[in-house]
């Protein structure tokens, strides 16, 4: 039976898991309360103590690895690591293929403004497309290679370059569903990656479960062996355990001080996250709605409700306003993957969760997802003023709407 939090918009069917306490408040909201209870100055000192032994004494190697993209929290993480903590980071990035010109600009600007070295990984398009076709068909996901690459490339780089410390920004499990207290100081684990980033399938699982893929397609996504991690002492920490994490506020600082660029989306009111990808807030977001009955706009609304910048009622209204908007960039994806519209829609429909979707007639579906089922009364809805997000660019920037490959200089 579906159950909703009394404070935010999440339900117990959240794919990361969600628990409720005896007052009906969800684990995500309860852990969020720590943001206003913990002594963040003290936690910052703790962070400094943790990273101290990793500072390179002879300047002959990097102090840490910082995984970045042209979107999300990358600017703020590099700002904390380089500017505030004075570390010498090696930035690493994984080519997601769905790159927007805006994202490429942001990434270029990132390494220039912060004066950082950047290592770039590209897995060949044939393998990536083969994997994407398989995971789209079997798991309803076009993002497996991206999630796998983004989470493993920093770890492989740590081992190869002998840089044990990896610095991540926010821990998604904590920020969304309160999987851990900030005080647990949870670190990166292979378990979390398999369970929540990769939907239960590591590279070798794709190989053994689905007969469409071969070793040569997936080996780049393999996690390093435990003995390799242990002998170097590889460790991934999350800054959000030591810094009061507030993405909206942080992005606005980065826009003002470091030239981070943003864009409007059709399917959410947030203009800061995911500007580097044509599909995350588009086809990928629609798949989320099909499979889980809610989409990214609900995550954004929940986040702002918890930060008390949005009332629950306003949040739900925003969700209803944005979540069913049409896709804008699916043709680009179909051209890239080599699939036609009917085949794609056929596959997408297979992944509609019957808990949230019923077919009324051929090609017509009735939505009964979270926003439809969430009937709360507005007794205590306080009136927060309208929430605003800055927009200073577009996803395609001053170029065409096309995936950009870094290094090529022109899109294909």
């Amino acid at each position: 039976m579906i159950k909703f939090c009394k404070r935010c918009l999440y339900s117990n069917t959240h794919p990361l898991g969600l628990t409720f306490d005896h007052e009906g408040i969800c684990s995500g909201c309860r852990i969020h309360e720590e943001k206003d209870k913990l002594d963040w100055a003290e936690r910052w000192e703790k962070l400094k103590a943790i990273i101290k032994p990793y500072r390179n004494k002879d300047g002959k190697n990097y102090d840490c690895i910082v995984p970045v993209t042209g979107g999300q929290d990358s600017y703020y993480i590099v700002y904390l690591a380089k500017v505030l903590l004075g570390l010498n980071p090696l930035l690493v990035t994984y080519n997601k293929y769905f790159n927007t010109p805006l994202g490429i600009n942001n990434l270029a600007n990132l390494k220039i403004r912060f004066n950082c070295d950047l290592l770039y990984q590209n897995v060949n398009p044939l393998s990536v497309k083969k994997i994407t076709r398989t995971t789209l068909r079997k798991l309803g996901s076009i993002y497996w290679p991206i999630l796998a690459g983004h989470t493993v490339f920093p770890v492989q780089t740590a081992v190869r370059f002998k840089i044990p410390l990896i610095i991540w920004g926010a821990h998604q499990g904590i920020e969304q569903v309160g999987m851990f207290s900030h005080l647990h100081e949870v670190e990166m684990t292979r378990r979390y990656r398999k369970d929540h980033d990769l939907m239960g399938y590591e590279a070798d699982d794709l190989l053994s479960v689905f007969d469409t893929l071969k070793e040569e397609d997936i080996w780049q996504y393999r996690y390093p062996m435990d003995c390799e991690l242990n002998s170097l002492g590889v460790r991934g920490i999350y800054l959000s355990n030591f810094v009061r994490w507030d993405p909206k506020k942080q992005h606005e600082e980065m826009i003002a001080d470091f030239g981070y660029r943003t864009a409007k989306f059709e399917r959410t009111f947030d203009t800061y996250d995911y500007v580097d990808c044509f599909n995350y807030m588009d086809l990928h977001d629609q798949l989320k709605l099909y499979k889980h009955g809610f989409s990214k706009v609900t995550d954004h609304a929940t986040r702002e409700i918890r930060h008390q910048r949005l009332s629950r009622e306003k949040g739900l209204n925003l969700v209803k306003k944005y979540e069913q908007k049409n896709l804008k960039y699916s043709k680009l994806f179909m051209k890239w993957l080599g699939v036609n519209e009917r085949s794609l829609q056929f596959i997408l429909d297979q992944h509609r969760n019957p808990k949230f979707w019923t077919q009324t007639e051929f090609g017509q579906w009735k939505f009964n997802g979270w926003s439809a089922q969430n009937n709360f009364s507005n007794i205590n809805s306080s009136q927060h003023s309208c929430i605003t997000f800055e927009v200073n660019d577009k996803l395609e920037s001053n170029k065409d709407v096309n995936y950009i490959t870094i290094g090529k200089g022109w899109s294909y």
Binding site: G17, T19, F180, E187, R191, Y192, G200, D226, C227, L229
Partner: protein, 256 residues
């Protein structure tokens, strides 16, 4: 020489692996199979999967879960806890892949069935779970369904003395999830000597483990929540306790 053990615990509620605090609040972790598989890779000495909402909902054991775990082909011994009502339940769990089982509610509901179970699958495969607390100079035994703490009954003592269960799992339920929380008096003041005991609940640091593993009657310590915060958590504990009679640490390598 027989080594002492570090048991990795996965707690399951509503089908989800969770962190459990004081038998009262819970935070979600993920899919039980993935946590179990992770403990297998980390070479835990045993893995205990405890499903905490079966008996109180009058459901038997979660056979589907143990069946899925059985199919994983784990290389580590697996202990199942939660909802066992009878000899048949226990036997079926062994068939599906459990190596040993834990009884808790059954000790209250029908203690004779524990004897039948032990005769069928062997005492080595049966563990009695006693959630205990130390209150005002006395050891109290929790009936977790009624939430009442009572004295340990003579019937339970007799059952343990009769050796039809191999070990007693003592859970410090109040301090579950609390760093350094485990109350060592629960072991020191346990009324029976020469009964192998497993300590569980609020065990987070090596010095606590050392103090417990040094006790004669302790055969193992079990750790739940605290295994989820770092990579290689079990190995790191063993490295800190390298002088104790524990099985040495290993890491998955290309030579496996």
């Amino acid at each position: 020489m027989l080594k002492k053990r570090i048991i990795g615990v996965v707690t399951v509620k509503a089908g989800w692996a969770v962190q459990s605090f004081g038998y009262y609040s819970y935070l979600p972790l993920g899919k039980p199979e993935i946590l179990v598989e992770n403990l297998d890779r980390w070479n835990a000495d045993e893995i205990l999967i405890q499903v905490i909402d079966r008996s109180e909902n009058h459901l038997g054991p979660d056979f589907q879960l143990i069946e899925r775990l059985g199919k994983l082909g784990l290389e580590t011994p697996l202990i199942y806890s939660g909802g066992i009502r009878s000899e048949e339940d226990g036997v079926r769990l062994i068939q599906l892949g459990a190596d040993r089982v834990v009884v808790d509610a059954l000790l209250f509901d029908n203690i004779n069935k524990v004897r039948d179970l032990s005769e069928h699958i062997g005492a080595q495969a049966v563990i009695a779970s006693l959630p205990l607390s130390w209150k005002g100079d006395e050891l109290k035994y929790l009936n977790y369904r009624s939430r009442e703490s009572v004295s340990i009954s003579d019937r339970v003592i007799e059952l343990i003395k009769s050796r039809c269960i191999s070990e007693v799992l003592i859970s410090d339920w109040e301090h579950e999830g609390m760093p350094n929380g485990f109350e060592i008096k629960l072991i020191e003041k346990f009324p029976l000597k020469d009964t192998p005991l497993i300590a569980f609940g609020g065990i987070s640091n090596p010095s606590q483990m050392r103090a417990l593993l040094d006790l004669n009657d302790i055969s193992a310590v079990a750790i739940g929540n605290f295994l989820n915060y770092h990579e290689h958590a079990i190995q790191k504990y063993k490295e800190a306790l390298i002088d104790l009679p524990l099985r040495f640490t290993s890491y998955e390598s290309i030579f496996n």
